[in-house]
């Protein structure tokens, strides 16, 4: 079965990203396909490679990135939500004249259409949020 996952909350503040991660991991381990993980609202903050949690805590960003690496996951960050919250990749940096990027290379910034497409292409949309 093909799943689409939507994450509406940022890391650490809310459990949503953790729940989404464990759901996604369990789905992949069961042999399901995850078509896309879409990060929306404050969820875009899950993609900041500058995150530095204390040593004894989980690294939510790296954990997503490792899962994506293992399973070739498509992790998309909403561009409009990212712009508002200062989540920047190379293209956005140049387009908006910013002096830095902060996105982890396993994530990509794209439009909301990617969420809608994921909902159309997948058998199930599972949303995690506040």
């Amino acid at each position: 079965m093909k799943f689409a996952i939507q994450v509406n909350e940022g890391p650490y503040q809310h459990q949503a990203s953790d729940s989404a991660y464990f759901f996604t991991k369990a789905a992949l381990e069961k042999g399901h396909e995850v078509f896309r993980v879409f990060f929306y609202h404050d969820g875009v903050n899950n993609s900041s490679r500058l995150t530095t949690p204390p040593q004894d805590d989980r690294n939510i960003v790296n954990r997503w990135a490792e899962l994506a690496e293992q399973h070739d996951l498509d992790m998309v960050v909403c561009v409009a939500a990212a712009q508002r919250r200062g989540v920047v990749d190379e293209g956005e940096m140049q387009r908006n004249g910013k002096d830095a990027t902060n996105i982890h290379p396993r994530f990509r910034i794209s439009g909301l259409g990617q969420l809608v497409e994921a909902a159309i292409q997948s058998d199930r949309l599972v949303v995690f949020g506040d």
């Binding site: 939507q6 509406n8 929306y40 609202h41 409009a80 939500a81 439009g111 909301l112 259409g113 969420l115 809608v116 497409e117 909902a119 159309i120 292409q121 949309l125 949303v127 949020g129």
Partner: protein, 136 residues
């Protein structure tokens, strides 16, 4: 692109301005309209506050996005369901909400109401019937 048309239900349960959910979910509805799916919007609980008339955000320094709902008809989004019980609980009636319409090109561009007031039971049936539910 897939040929199948899915029944999309956007579930709106949150009030505007206090959090960004209402505005950013409306952005999804606008973008999603281009995908030619069978779209319905459900407003339940505090979600009904999104549609109140006379919103004026000048004093809080935020963009007043309530006029955007009036544009939904132009995006072919014409099925907007409001739960009566949610209005009642909040001391509201349909008169407190914006009047949303869409133009029917098959009927000489006549303006038709987009909003339909439904009971909780009807809302439950609508939810049951959807293929995909978007929550924000």
């Amino acid at each position: 692109m897939s040929e199948t048309i899915k029944k999309f239900l956007y579930l709106n349960r949150k009030a505007p301005y206090g959090t960004i959910y209402a505005w950013e979910s409306l952005e999804v509805v606008l973008i999603g309209a281009a995908f030619d799916q069978d779209v319905s919007l459900a407003f339940v609980e505090d979600g009904v506050y999104q549609l109140t008339k006379d919103q004026d955000t000048t004093g809080i320094g935020m963009k007043n996005f309530s006029p955007t709902y009036a544009a939904l008809g132009d995006y072919e989004v014409k099925k907007i369901f409001i739960e009566k019980e949610s209005l009642d609980e909040r001391g509201l009636t349909l008169d407190d909400l914006q009047h949303l319409v869409w133009e029917d090109e098959d009927d000489d561009w006549a303006e038709k109401d987009s909003i339909k007031l439904v009971s909780r039971e009807e809302m439950t049936a609508l939810m049951e019937d959807a293929d995909v539910v978007f929550s924000f």
